[in-house]
Symmetry: C2
Subunit: 334 residues, 2 copies
């Protein structure tokens, strides 16, 4: 900036004004400055300007999710990026991997980098440690999972209701022995999905058979193993609800290796690319990560723009996508 000022023959302050589009600069001086800046390939140092600025804004936000390589997280990141870029804000990402320690590490790192705000799907179950930073003016928007012990904006899927509707759907096709396969019970959404399942069962006056419930399944092979055992048992389920992507894939493998794909009904949570290409195509409860991300980004930028209205909770509807695997009737009904 000093060099630009020297080349343009003006003061530092004038360059600063031109760079920041302050309108009060004489057009001739301004164009001299712009010419000099272009000649020197000058790029203003955003960190330096943030340091002195009253608002201290770095034009950077953090998007911290479970795992940026999974399609749900990746889509959220990407959709936030799209909103951010329109405001010339840059997005730094991080993956918590369900590790509360890593949540602490990453949020602290972001705080050292003085990000302007956070969008996060937390791994921990206590977010009171963020209250100080929040009070200091950094907005937090939670996605996919609500904040615990912290008042903050939050954007969720209606997982519970989505699973209830999916379970009713299976019940309607005559299924009574429905297995529920869930992810880590420590995860909020995992609990919600199971709750949605129980809601529908009790609503139908059915009790949940504990031998048909398997939770804390994280990987496809684990799910494949469990589902294999269920299918091979004396009294197998006639339908399966898979509470998560990888679990769904494991379940489908177990079913296929037994050639039961036309006999056992399956509904999964979260859409899969290519779900329509399987035979039968896979019925799922699809979330809407683009919309979750857009709502979250919009909320965050509103807060950054000074919106001090009460904390909001936005619920984005999930959708039952009917494709075939969930519409296989129970044997007794055939």
């Amino acid at each position: 900036m000093k060099d630009v000022a020297a080349l343009a023959g003006v003061s530092l302050k004038t360059v600063s004004r031109v760079v920041n589009n302050e309108s009060t600069v004489n057009e001739e001086l301004a164009s001299r400055v712009r010419l000099a800046a272009a000649q020197l390939h000058y790029q203003p140092n955003i960190s330096a300007s943030a340091l002195r600025r009253l608002d201290g804004r770095s034009s950077t936000i953090a998007v911290l999710l479970e795992d940026l390589s999974n399609p749900f997280s990746a889509t959220i990141y990407r959709s936030v990026e799209e909103v951010a870029i329109r405001r010339s804000v840059v997005v730094v990402g991080g993956s918590f991997e369900e590790d509360p320690e890593r949540e602490l590490t990453l949020t602290a790192a972001m705080s050292r980098h003085r990000v302007d705000g956070f969008i996060m799907a937390p791994a921990s179950r206590d977010h009171s440690y963020l209250a100080r930073e929040q009070r200091a003016g950094t907005p937090f928007v939670f996605v996919d999972r609500p904040p615990v012990n912290l008042e903050a904006d939050c954007v969720l899927s209606d997982s519970r209701d989505g699973v209830t509707r999916a379970t009713r759907h299976l019940l309607r096709y005559g299924h009574r022995r429905i297995a529920f396969l869930g992810d880590l019970t420590t995860i909020y959404t995992s609990q919600e999905r199971f709750a949605g399942f129980r809601d529908a069962m009790s609503e139908a006056g059915l009790s949940v058979d504990p031998t048909l419930v398997h939770l804390d399944l994280r990987t496809a092979p684990a799910a494949e193993h469990v589902v294999g055992r269920l299918l091979d048992s004396a009294n197998p389920p006639t339908a399966l609800f898979a509470g998560q992507n990888l679990v769904l894939m494991g379940a489908l493998r177990a079913i296929r290796s037994r050639h039961l794909q036309q006999r056992v009904a399956v509904v999964g949570f979260d859409d899969l690319i290519m779900a329509d290409l399987l035979e039968p195509a896979v019925t799922v409860v699809a979330q809407n990560p683009e919309r979750i991300a857009r709502e979250a980004a919009t909320l965050l930028f509103c807060r950054l723009d000074g919106d001090t209205s009460p904390v909001r909770e936005v619920v984005v509807p999930s959708e039952l996508v009917i494709r075939g695997s969930g519409e296989i009737p129970a044997p007794s009904v055939v």
Copy 2:
């Protein structure tokens, strides 16, 4: 930092020494400083320290790819994150979307944020504009596509050879009429994949039938349409090579809707989650994005650590994953 110094009753400089783990501090003073820092929940301002530091390092790198929501890009981002986090370096991401303008915009934005280095899969075909920043000490590592008019490190898949091997594989099953379906011809990897196809064909003494070559396919519906027309033609191909994920999906849909999945051979480029669950399971040329990312990140950090050896080009092998769809023999051979 000032507050920490005041609370600990030491000078600013002593706090700075403790924060930066300079060993020359009296243990008693150091622990007083640490206590004060903890009480005040002090987080050092990395941008401010970068401003004055001789190396000017911000502990931030940029990872700019085609589209962070696609599995290939997302996996690269995630794997770079994993290497970066071990060095307490934070990763800011961006998506070019095959738009050279956006490449300029995003690299300039990153430059204003004074990132320490770049890992990027470029959209443009001329990177000379980065030479200045590179000379100023910011390392660039290109992934998936080589730099043009710029000397920079680069990590590539052996796409061309991978496609040649896949095509030979189809030829071995008796196919002569093999359709090639490619992505935008402006994309480097797209050209390479087509070149690999032609290599194998000419090696086998076959000419490429131009009516079986369709390039510039970007979306699944476009591919589905084109493949549909091919399959419905008087002299349809007996095998298809799909040069990209979405194209593969479109091709599979066209084949399935005509119930030809057991008759027309298909090989795709890039692995798909669930490719093993289709019937037949899909044979693909799989890249290794984790390894590409690890190599790129390692190279970048070597450069940041002062490695000034000549520019390197690393080639990561791709792998033909045989699953069934690519092993359907040509009709004349049956």
